[in-house]
């Protein structure tokens, strides 16, 4: 299988956020700033790459009827390992994203790619798919976080662009997440066609 095609598929053609609309919970919840969005995207990408790799390696040993519980055990273990590593070596990220890391377990992107891609393809393609999808997700979250941070607080990656008093607070809160995401999906799909 053509690796570049697989990669491009995850990044643009079937972008998990803008096209497949998978994993909306962390997308809306964590993107109150560009940095938060990016960290969440990278954490998800790390789990996605390893879960795709492991599942594609063991796919032939898993009887069909127990494949979902098996995948969930693999994914949940990976997320727990990631959480412990972040707590131990990156306490700043733990402070801002600690609550959301365990939610990666139930992120549909990860189980979705395990079921739709890793369970049918070879390990190399599965890793490429993980990198592509992961980067697509990270890019989307960073973009959404950036837009919300800029409109809400006048900063981007904590660098001031205009004074905070002119920011529309609603963009940092939940309703702004829906509004910004809706417009971004519309713009991306317009550009893509």
């Amino acid at each position: 299988m053509n690796q570049i095609k697989v990669f491009w598929n995850g990044l643009v053609k079937e972008n998990p956020t803008f096209v497949l609309l998978l994993g909306m919970c962390p997308t809306l919840g964590t993107t109150s700033s560009a940095l938060n969005g990016m960290s969440m995207g990278l954490a998800t990408m790390a789990v996605l790459i390893f879960s795709n790799l492991i599942i594609s390696l063991i796919k032939n040993f898993i009887p069909d009827m127990v494949r979902i519980p098996s995948y969930i055990v693999v994914i949940a273990s990976l997320v727990t390992i990631l959480q412990m590593v972040i707590k131990a070596y990156a306490p700043e990220i733990d402070q801002s994203l600690g609550l959301f890391i365990p939610l990666i377990v139930v992120n549909c992107i990860i189980l979705g790619r395990a079921e739709a891609f890793a369970a049918k393809n070879d390990p190399l393609s599965s890793v490429t798919d993980g990198v592509g999808m992961g980067l697509g997700f990270t890019m989307a979250l960073t973009l959404l976080g950036g837009v919300r941070e800029l409109l809400g607080t006048g900063r981007i990656f904590s660098l001031a662009v205009f004074p905070e008093d002119y920011g529309a607070l609603v963009f940092v809160l939940a309703p702004g997440a829906f509004i910004a995401l809706g417009y971004l999906i519309a713009i991306v799909n317009r550009l893509k066609n």
């Binding site: 109150s32 700033s33 063991i58 796919k59 032939n60 040993f61 898993i62 009887p63 069909d64 009827m65 127990v66 519980p69 098996s70 055990v73 693999v74 949940a76 273990s77 727990t80 390992i81 412990m84 590593v85 707590k87 131990a88 070596y89 306490p91 609550l99 809400g152 607080t153 607070l169 940092v172 809160l173």
Partner: protein
Amino acid sequence: MKKLESTWYNMTVVLTLISVAAGAALAYVNDLTAGPIRIIKEQQLQDGIKAVLSADDLTVKDTEEVDGVIVYRTDKGTAVQATDPNGFGGKLTVLVGFDSKGTIQGYRVLESAETPGLGAKAGDWFQKGQKGDIIGMSPAKNNMTVSKDGGEVDAITASTITSRAFLRCVNAAYAALAAEDAQSGATRQAEDNTYEEE
């Protein structure tokens, strides 16, 4: 290679093996990270105590826990950690520093799930020189509730619930300190005098 059949035997064995392998991996990583995590927690608490007592160097002499409120006695004053379960987004944990007369020296929000841009401002709002300045006040002398409730503290704009929870933490911290002082007042007094002489 052909896929394994979905027989009872195969399913049981495979699920068990996967779970055991996952368990082993988790145990190994937990073992690796438990040390660093403990050190970081300890470090954050130490930094917090130093910050709220505005001292660069201090030693914790005594730690006591009463009903979830933790009192850290140091040679530069007392830091008290109190938690309120009813912040706007959930649990709010605040570390407050008191001098020997019960006057607030400083505070730090240790744990919070407040709304970014609103309640999350609690970390700065009540600091010295800010609008809701509580430094130098004492729950014994001042009425430390928000002005809407008849108190002396200006609540964070549009975040009265967070402000109330924050002040409940401060008052609970002082209450624990005062209760403990009343209990062991005599001995504590004697100890304090000896420290002054040193």
